[in-house]
Structures are given as C-alpha cells and as structure tokens.
C-alpha cells in the first residue's frame, strides 16, 4: 500500500505536523516507500526539508495552488493518486487539514477519520482516536477500500528516522475552476500581556464555573509571579480576552510552570501547552485528559485546594 503524507504550510513555513506525518508513514510503510506531497505556487522550497524524512517528495506547483483551498488541493491530490491503489493518505489534523481530509475522501469514496492517534495496517486498517473530548478512546477497523484518508493528531509522532529521499517538482493544474476564493490572512491582535513570554501561567478552564471565581486564580497567579491564561471556553464566555487563550486557535506556550485550574485538557488546548516545562493540573474529574500530559496531577476540588495553597503562599511571603 502506498502511503502519502500531505504536508501543510502557511506563509512560507512548513507546519511541523508535516514531519510527524512522515514519521508515521515511515513506521507504517513496511517494504514500501514514504511519499510526501506538498502543494503550492512555489512548493519546491519545501522539498528538501521534507526529503530528509521521506523516500520521495512530490512538490506540485501551480499558480492556482498559491493559497490553500480544500477543493483545488484535493483535486490535484486525486490526480497524483490516480492508479496508485490501494493508498493511504495522511493529513495533519489541523484546522485546514480537517477541512481537506473529508473533501478528498468524498472524491475518493474513501473511509475518513479525524484526530487519529494510532494506525495499524494488516489485513485491514485499524485506527485509534479520542472521542468525548479526550475522555474515551475508540479502537476501530475501517471498511475495505481502495483509498483511505486519515487526519492525524499533532504532537503524537514527534520522532522518527531520517530517510534522505529525493524530490521531484511537478506541475499539475487543478481540473476544476476554483469556487472558494482566498482573500487574506488576519493577524492576531496584540494584547496587554503576551502569555507566550511568561514563565508562570495559571490557566483556568470551565471548572472555574464563574468569572467571579477568577479572583482566586488571580491571587494565586500574583503569589506565584505569573499571569492568568485560559482555555477557549473561558474566552467564549468573555471571562478572558482572546490574547489569553492557550491552544491551537490561541497561543502556544512553553512556560516554566503551567498550572491548570479546572482545565479538562481538550486536545486543542493541550496542543498549545504540552511542551511546558512543568505541568501540574488540578481537576475533580479523574478522567480529564489533562492528566495525560501533566507531570503531576491533583484530583480534587479547586475551590478547596487553591484557597489553601494561597493561604500557605501568603504565610511564606510574610
């Protein structure tokens, strides 16, 4: 089975998930080849980097491919795949990858899964993925097909061997006219605090229940010399401004101390903080996915524990 990894790039930079996909591909390829596919107006600039980890890189170039578009990209990938059956296509489970995967799958009439964390190829393809916002894992086998499309979670296959393959630059035009039109990117607003530069982050989640409880977190942050950050729901609720959001659609942070208070650890959030130096989480739900990424976990009521911590810290300061 041929395995294709679709690389993702934006504004001149390759998304690290592209390499993770290649790591997975190299794990799965058996006797076959790992093939990276990158599309763009000047896709060749990425070819060499990708070739480090792939047997073969196909850099597909065309004017129409300048900006990511799920329909045009899947049309072109389809042209690349023609004849190569069976084939497994791996895409990163980014916001755009998750958009591209089903589009391609429908064109290929292929089974498709998102947020996959494990793949096994034998007589059938088996995958594992999280559901219930990280609290439950599903092992499933896919129906037999000529093609399969899987969107793979970021940060899972971080390591892999160097392969040092070769690359090819091809020009393929999409066979359809574009319907969707890219206008522009909008930069994030700059807030008063840049949480990605802070050493200590006290991150609050829905477990805080009410923004009136923010005072507890703020007090803790003050005593520890840090600032408050939050998960997406806390921003949606208006408790915190967008610049405080940690996660894929917010900021990626790597502080010395990440203390999660009432954070369950949805994958989009975890993406944004998993590389923090010391991760401690307090949550009353023992199944909260945050405990999988935390170094230390406290299963308990934040409203009992945090005030006691604050008390003790105050005593120390005296």
């Amino acid at each position: 089975m041929e395995i294709f990894a679709i690389a993702e790039h934006r504004r001149g930079e390759l998304n690290p998930v592209s390499f993770e996909l290649l790591n997975l591909t190299n794990l799965l390829k058996g006797g076959g080849k790992s093939i990276a596919v990158v599309l763009g107006k000047n896709a060749h600039v990425f070819a060499e980097q990708l070739a480090k980890y792939a047997d073969k890189v196909l850099a597909i170039e065309d004017e129409a491919l300048e900006n990511y578009d799920p329909e045009l990209y899947s049309d072109v990938i389809l042209q690349v795949l023609k004849g190569d059956k069976p084939a497994l296509v791996l895409i990163g489970n980014t916001i755009s990858g998750a958009e591209l995967a089903p589009c391609l799958a429908v064109k290929l009439n292929a089974p498709v899964q998102t947020d996959v964390v494990n793949v096994e190829i034998s007589d059938v393809i088996r995958i594992s993925k999280y559901i219930c916002q990280g609290k439950v894992m599903v092992d499933a086998k896919l129906r037999n097909s000529e093609f399969y499309v899987l969107a793979v979670r970021q940060g899972v296959f971080k390591n892999g061997p160097e392969v040092r393959g070769n690359f090819e630059v091809i020009s393929i035009k999409p066979s359809t006219a574009p319907r969707r039109k890219f206008i522009k990117y909008i930069e994030p607003e700059i807030g008063e605090v840049d949480i990605s530069k802070e050493d200590v982050l006290i991150t609050v989640g829905r477990g805080l229940k009410d923004s009136s409880n923010m005072v507890i977190a703020e007090e803790l942050a003050k005593l520890l010399g840090g600032v408050i950050a939050g998960t997406r729901p806390t921003v949606d609720y208006g408790w915190l401004s967008k610049d405080r959001q940690v996660g894929t659609s917010g900021k990626t942070v790597t502080p010395k101390l990440y203390l999660g208070v009432g954070v369950s650890g949805a994958s989009q959030h975890v993406m944004g903080m998993k590389d923090s130096e010391l991760i401690i989480a307090i949550n009353k739900d023992p199944r909260a996915p945050i405990f999988e990424v935390a170094e230390y976990g406290i299963i308990g009521d934040i409203f009992e524990i945090v005030p006691k911590v604050i008390d003790k810290l105050r005593q120390i300061k005296r």
Binding site: V112, M137, L142, K181, Y185
Partner: protein
C-alpha cells in the same frame, strides 16, 4: 433564502458516563442528551439570517430520539424540521442519510456546527458538502453576505484568521463564539408543537468502520499528589520549592 441547519442530539461527555459491558458502546442510562453545543451556534446563525434577510430555515437531525432537539430548533425560530430516525456513530452514514433526505429541498445555505460534543469528528458537514457538491468552509467565526455570495472568516491556529469568499449555495461549519445563542423557553417549545417534524423515509447504508473497543484511556503520565486539601496544598508548595519556582 433557504437555509438547512444540521443539528445533533448529542450526549454531554460528563464524568458520570459509563462504558457498557460489551466494551463497544455506552451505558444508555448514564447519558444525558441535549442539542450539540456547536449546533446551537449554527441554529442561532440561521435564525439571525432569517431575521435580517428573510429565509426559510429547515432543521435536520439524525437520531432515534432527537425530537427534543428538533422541537427546540422550531421553538428558536426554524420553520420546519426533518427527522432521520436512526442512531449512528458513522459520519459518512449520517451525511449520506441527510443527503438523501434533503434531496428535494431548495438550498442556498447549509449551516452546521464545527464538531459534535460527543464524538468530535467534525466530518458530517464537510462530507455532506462533498456529496452535495457544495463549496464549503469550516471553523467559521463570521459570515457576511455580499452580492456574489458570502465572505467568511475562518479561525486558524495561533490566533490567525483567514478570510475567504464562497459562492452560494455553500456549506459553513461554525465555531463557538460566532454569536450568542438565544434561549428557547418551555412555553416556546410547547408552542412549537404546531410546526412540522417530518420523518424521512431513508435507510442508512453500510458503515465505513466498525468499533472494536471503547475504553477510558489510561492516565499515563501524571504522578498523583494525594491527600486532603490541606496535605495536597502543602505537597504542591514543596514541589514548587524543589523546582525553584518559589
């Protein structure tokens, strides 16, 4: 304008939920069902468009017991509802069933939530768009109508946004925070009983996957700090001291 909005009668992934003895499904009585959170934003967006520009809004849901959610959509302002009375965890199956059920509908816009709160696949919308051959966008956080179609903003990683233009008809999968969903009062839901919920006669085709196992992932890494609140807080402080953070 004709808007179809996809809603799911989903369960809330709460601490109380339990996996059944067969290891492949959930214990039904531990599940509490409600309208999928993301879909409530989609419904609100549909009703807002209806209020601002005039539209007929049709709510569609797949599920044996999704009447509550559909009635809530009707109470919120949808004009009609279509119920596809099957339970499935397969996004492809669901998208196909919806595709068959809305074949006769006039479509200017299809709205869906970015993902479901229970399965988190985020696939039904895009697969349906593919089947309907509609242009689409996901993770939408703002929608503006223009002469030639819609201009939407998509929320990307790192706080970035992407602005794209799509022709109508198209499918948009919206993110939370795009609007403030309104409340459907009990009286409103009772009044909505006069609006139609039509059962669709389609039959689900075969699934694209088979669940082999459902389980709680092992809490791998975290070292537990245990004890009473008093003990835990002391131990936490010791840990912070050890790591030079105090």
């Amino acid at each position: 304008m004709n808007i179809v909005v996809l809603v799911k009668h989903a369960f809330a992934p709460e601490p109380g939920l339990r996996i059944g003895t067969d290891g492949k499904s959930f214990e039904k009585q531990t599940l509490v069902y409600e309208m999928n959170e993301w879909d409530s934003y989609a419904v609100e967006e549909a009703i807002k468009i209806k209020e601002q520009k005039g539209a007929e809004v049709v709510a569609v849901s797949v599920g044996k017991d999704c009447d509550d959610t559909l009635r809530r959509c009707l109470a919120l302002g949808a004009d009609r509802a279509i119920k596809i009375p099957y339970d499935s965890m397969d996004s492809w199956q669901i998208a196909e069933a919806i595709h068959m059920s809305i074949k006769g509908e006039r479509l200017d816009l299809v709205l869906a939530g970015f993902q479901s709160q229970d399965l988190n696949n985020g696939l039904v919308g895009p697969i349906l768009a593919g089947m309907l051959r509609l242009s689409y966008a996901i993770a939408v956080i703002s929608i503006e109508f223009e002469d030639e179609g819609v201009r939407v903003k998509r929320e990307l990683e790192g706080g970035f946004q992407e602005e794209v233009r799509l022709p109508l008809p198209c499918l948009l999968a919206v993110q939370t925070g795009i609007n403030q969903p309104r409340y459907a009062s009990i009286r409103g839901i009772l009044r909505a009983k006069t609006k139609e919920i039509k059962e669709s006669p389609v039959i689900l085709k075969s699934s694209t996957f088979e669940i082999e196992k459902l389980y709680s992932p092992v809490v791998k890494k975290a070292k537990r700090i245990e004890g009473s609140a008093e003990e835990v807080s002391s131990k936490l402080i010791e840990l912070l001291k050890e790591r030079g953070l105090l």
